[in-house]
């Protein structure tokens, strides 16, 4: 539940994190090699490149080890190394609108974070995540306790979870119930003495049903309760006109979210299939969202190729404004809380490279549309982005 790509950190941390990733994976290899032939190890490299200048490089590794014939342990370690174009205040739309601001440097007026864009100067951040899941099989029941620790320079998150999955009716039906609790601490980079807390509780339900020899259905439901500091300490709002000083964002300190999803998969014969998904999201901040997704898969020898399209649209939060004429109790111009729609076009390839290695590759293009006035945003318009991910698994 963290804001994974917000904040500012030591640029050298990415290198140190990559070294730790290497050490962790080496240990994972030794663990997997020593624990049996059914164990596996995976490496993944992912890359995000946004039109707003944000770039994210995410190396990660997984190790799955069979402890005995009924127990498995899965370890995951990943890094998000984020960088963004340095803020050029000479091009800032608010500064251009007010020549009186074109004096001194940014720190003359601001904290070391751009008040308008919310981005820090020479923005760099590294997030590290370590997760462990234990899986225990009892007949047709699987028990999965898990723990995830996520660390950034200004954000620490710990999540504990437990899920129970039960096969029913000759494994035609699978019911999975889950619960997870998260504790988050936020420390803005300019004020390390300030510590904000945020807690999350989430209950999940997933039902997978074989409908026949050629089709299956999955239904999902999720309910989340978020409490505490839910604002972004780096986000500011413009109250009045372009010449007034921005004010800190303020969001309600509680939020109830619900999600319902359905996915239908149908074999088309000739080693191919089609999938149609729908997801509804609603919360008590007034945001409702719908996601429609379609995908076709086709096997060619040891490889499977997929092509998909996903459309998402949401309404805005009740307190969201692009501009505030008067101060209010709750104010935010977070682009995530605006009304907008986006599309994601994806291509993927996955399959086996011989007996021991699996390969998967995927590319997605993201495109967002909205009706916002971008005069106050550092970005010149909605974000477009390219996502690339390549993974290898050794068994």
């Amino acid at each position: 539940m963290s804001r994974p790509w917000a904040g500012k950190a030591d640029p050298g941390a990415a290198v140190a994190a990559a070294r730790r990733l290497g050490a962790a994976l080496l240990a994972g290899c030794l663990l997997a090699a020593g624990l049996g032939a059914d164990s596996s190890m995976g490496l993944r490299y992912s890359h995000y490149d946004g039109s707003d200048g944000v770039t994210v490089v995410s190396p990660e590794g997984d190790v799955h080890a069979d402890l005995d014939d009924r127990s498995q342990v899965a370890l995951h370690y990943g890094v998000d190394a984020v960088s963004a174009a340095s803020f050029n205040y000479a091009k800032s739309k608010t500064h251009l609108a007010d020549p009186a601001r074109m004096v001194g440097d940014c720190k003359t007026c601001h904290n070391p974070v751009d008040a308008i864009s919310g981005a820090s100067l020479n923005y760099r951040d590294t997030r590290q995540e370590l997760g462990v899941t234990f899986i225990r099989h009892w007949g047709e029941t699987d028990l999965k306790p898990s723990y995830i620790h996520s660390q950034e320079d200004d954000y620490t998150s710990q999540t504990v979870g437990m899920s129970v999955a039960q096969n029913l009716f000759s494994r035609d039906t699978n019911l999975e119930l889950g619960y997870r609790h998260g504790d988050n601490q936020i420390q803005p980079v300019w004020d390390k003495a300030r510590v904000e807390e945020m807690g999350t509780d989430t209950a999940t339900l997933a039902l997978t049903q074989v409908l026949g020899r050629l089709s299956e259905l999955r239904l999902n439901a999720e309910l989340s309760d978020l409490r505490g500091f839910l604002s972004n300490p780096y986000s500011f709002v413009q109250v009045g006109n372009l010449t007034t000083q921005p004010a800190a964002e303020s969001e309600p300190d509680e939020r109830l979210q619900s999600v319902l999803g359905a996915a239908f998969k149908q074999s088309l014969g000739w080693d191919s299939s089609a999938e149609l998904d729908y997801r509804y999201y609603g919360d008590d901040w007034g945001v409702t969202a719908g996601t429609v997704q379609g995908q076709v898969d086709k096997q060619w020898g040891p490889f499977t190729v997929d092509a998909g399209w996903r459309h998402y649209s949401q309404s805005q939060a009740w307190f969201f404004r692009n501009f505030y004429a008067q101060p209010r109790a709750y104010m935010s111009r977070d682009l995530k809380l605006a009304a907008f729609s986006d599309d994601l076009f994806s291509l993927g390839l996955r399959g086996s490279l011989g007996e021991d290695w699996d390969l998967d590759m995927s590319y997605s293009h993201y495109l967002r549309r909205d009706g916002l006035d971008y005069r106050l945003y550092f970005s010149n318009g909605p974000v477009a982005a390219d996502l690339l991910s390549v993974g290898f698994t050794y068994r």
Partner: protein, 74 residues
């Protein structure tokens, strides 16, 4: 949000009706379901990164993934 409990109840009832109404598919009839092309997109190998990237831009998250399905052979 008031609609959420009603939707959850409807989902539960639909799920129960679905399970009760389905004829059992025998293990030897699940060859097609066990093919790689029948894997749900939410279980795909790059799904975690994609979901992680999307939640930086979107409010909605979750409601995907699960266990079971396929050939039923774990």
């Amino acid at each position: 949000m008031r609609a959420a409990p009603a939707l959850l109840r409807a989902l539960g009832l639909a799920g129960l009706a679905l399970c009760a109404g389905c004829a059992t598919v025998q293990p030897w009839e699940k060859a097609e379901l066990g093919k790689p092309c029948m894997q749900f997109s939410g279980d795909g190998p790059a799904q975690a990164f994609r979901a992680h990237a999307l939640i930086t831009n979107e409010q909605a998250m979750g409601g995907e993934g699960g266990s079971g399905g396929g050939c039923g052979c774990r």
